[in-house]
């Protein structure tokens, strides 16, 4: 039996195909204007030598979940990230999900069920979009940011919370000749401190080792992980494909639906 999970995010759309509880394939495409849910599922299916007729159930998640007409069910990205992260790393109790336009902190119980969550409110300051804007200002690739920041010797201070003001700050740092790696390290720290605020708002008890997992595309940035670990004071586990965790969770729920 085959099922699919689609995560229609602000920046990218992801699909995961499951067959008998195992991940058969996945695919990631840029969301663009029209939404790419159908396309991404087709691509993932062809990787697994399957077609849409083979799918028993599709669950959609992500901010565009209501615009996935072929999905039989819509589930929020909060529940899906919880399900996906717990499947990959059963010790997960806290998830930090930093995506294209929002950041979330999700708390799970031992069974992997979501018990609490927090989301950034109406502002993209602690999100992937913030990193994109800064990469653009620094004229570097988004993917390079993590590695470059590790070379930093002196992290600069980015004091503005607002993405647009922070960009002006970055530009003035560039103009005053501060090395790019120090500016990037500062950008990471600025995001990390905002995400840490969200994180601690949902932490009431001691956080155990190996219980904090980061998902979402920003988790691929090693500099960002390092900054976050410094801010929250504990090691963060990153699954191999952090950006497909939501789609994986959706696929796992699709599988459960088939057995219900």
């Amino acid at each position: 039996m085959y099922v699919a999970g689609v995560d229609s995010g602000a920046l990218t759309t992801k699909a995961v195909i499951l067959g008998d509880g195992k991940v058969l394939s996945h695919e990631i495409v840029l969301t663009g204007m029209g939404g790419k849910a159908h396309e991404v599922v087709e691509m993932a299916l062809s990787k697994a030598d399957l077609s849409t007729d083979d799918l028993a159930f599709v669950v959609a998640t992500g901010y565009g979940r209501i615009n996935v007409p072929f999905a039989a069910k819509q589930v929020t990205e909060i529940t899906c990230h919880g399900r996906g992260a717990h499947f990959l790393i059963p010790t997960t109790r806290m998830i930090i999900d930093v995506g294209g336009q929002d950041s979330k902190v999700i708390r799970l119980n031992e069974q992997g069920n979501v018990v609490d969550f927090a989301m950034n409110d109406k502002c993209a300051a602690g999100s992937g979009r913030f990193l994109e804007v800064m990469a653009n200002a620094l004229e570097i690739d988004l993917e390079e940011m993590g590695k470059l920041s590790l070379r930093s010797k002196k992290t600069v201070e980015i004091s503005s919370t607002c993405t647009v003001f922070a960009e002006s700050e970055v530009i003035s740092h560039i103009a005053s000749g501060i090395p790019k790696e120090d500016i990037i390290a500062g950008i990471h720290r600025a995001i990390a401190s905002r995400v840490a605020g969200l994180f601690f708002s949902k932490v009431r008890r001691k956080v155990e080792q190996d219980s904090v997992v980061m998902t979402g595309g920003v988790a691929k940035n090693i500099g960002m992980i390092k900054s976050l670990e410094e801010e929250i004071g504990i090691r963060i586990i990153v699954p191999p494909k952090p950006q497909i965790v939501g789609a994986l969770g959706a696929a796992l729920i699709a599988q459960e639906e088939c057995f219900m």
Partner: protein, 381 residues
């Protein structure tokens, strides 16, 4: 114009502020605006004046910023000032403001005095002590209510007899008891969350005697209806002012239902009755100071504990599954209480979420938050 619950006199968009005031003034009567659920309307009603609650609206600010209005005041404050500065309250004979928080109380009063000067023949700041449940605060507030009554009598050029005040209390208590009955019927599925909220909203702007007739009819109609199943996530709403019923509607659209609240446009407005076995002003002073759910602006030592206990009582009474805090941006008093309330709910493993609103409720993100909360409640989370 005929009043109805479905199209409450009060709820936005249906009628302009001019129209709201005019239909009553056409009967040769006067209209007084008030801003807060902690305002003793009974005194105004006893003087034959129609008190209309002014909540603000989610329309964009167009005038207030020209008057150096603080952009970091809550949207309720900014919006009320904007409405007044645009001249939309020019048909109101008066405006009475209770000292609650500095923005919604004092700042609005001072600016109304300075910048909307002359608009209101009667403009009054009612000093409410910030401590409740003490003899001295009751005494103080009784004196202030007496002074308010005197000022109003001077404005009306006639006395407000004690009997009128006692009658007003009776009519208002009847309204409170009808609204409680509506909440109870909502809890049992006979009335929707939206309709029950509508009943409260309409009560804040309609004359109470007419409002009571409408509410009684609503109750009679509801009782013969088939109750709806109570399987949907049952939500308790916590917060202050909502400009309209959008949030109640959104929760229902997503498959949940609002069964209880501690909103300034909900139970905080009507829950506790006024005692009828003592001097009317003394009874009003006690009720408006000590009432539950308490106003977060109060400094009474037990305030947060009292607020928590009220929420817990409502959760039990109406079998609510979760609490949704919908708080205004820049509203310190509610947000400070929230931190403590959140910890207490968490300790009791009661699911909750907080959403910060400004001009609008911010539907897109709130939708995801509410759906995630419903998934937790339904076991999907």
């Amino acid at each position: 114009m005929e009043l109805s619950i479905k199209k409450p006199f009060f709820t936005p968009k249906d009628l302009s502020w001019h129209e709201r005031a005019k239909w009553w003034k056409d009967k040769g009567k006067r209209v007084l605006g008030y801003l807060c659920s902690d305002f003793p309307e009974e005194i105004v009603y006893a003087g034959g004046i129609l008190p209309i609650r002014i909540l603000g609206s989610n329309e964009a600010i167009s005038e207030a910023y020209k008057y150096s209005i603080n952009p970091y005041s809550c949207y309720v404050t900014r919006s009320i000032l904007d409405i007044a500065l645009k001249g939309e309250l020019s048909d109101f004979d008066g405006l009475a403001i209770t000292t609650t928080c500095d923005a919604c109380g004092l700042d609005i009063y001072w600016r109304m005095e300075d910048q909307v000067k002359g608009s209101f023949p009667f403009l009054y700041l009612l000093p409410r002590p910030s401590i409740s449940k003490t003899e001295s605060s009751h005494k103080f507030f009784r004196v202030e209510l007496f002074r308010f009554k005197e000022s109003l009598e001077e404005f009306l050029q006639e006395e407000i007899p004690k009997s009128s005040l006692a009658h007003a209390i009776k009519v208002y208590n009847q309204n409170r008891s009808l609204l409680r009955e509506i909440y109870d019927l909502r809890g049992e599925g006979f009335i929707s969350g939206v309709d029950a909220a509508s009943a409260v909203f309409s009560s804040m702007g309609n004359p109470k005697d007419e409002s009571n007739l409408l509410l009684s009819r609503m109750i009679e109609e509801a009782k013969v209806r088939e109750p709806k199943s109570s399987a949907a996530p049952r939500i308790h709403l916590s917060g202050s002012v909502l400009f309209n019923l959008e949030l109640f509607e959104l929760i229902e659209d997503l498959g949940g239902t609002v069964v209880s609240d501690d909103l300034c446009v909900g139970s905080r407005y009507f829950w506790d009755p006024v005692s009828t076995d003592r001097d009317p002003l003394e009874a009003l002073a006690t009720r408006y100071l000590d009432k539950e759910p308490a106003c977060p602006c109060m400094n009474t030592e037990s305030k947060v504990e009292d607020r928590l206990n009220f929420i817990l009582m409502m959760l039990e009474r109406y079998k609510a599954d979760a609490v949704v805090f919908c708080l205004h941006k820049y509203c310190d008093t509610h947000q400070l209480d929230y931190q403590i309330l959140a910890e207490e709910l968490e300790e009791r493993e009661i699911p909750f979420l907080v959403h910060i609103i400004e001009q609008n409720i911010g539907t897109a993100q709130l939708r995801t938050k509410l759906e995630a909360l419903f998934e937790i409640i339904n076991g999907r989370g």
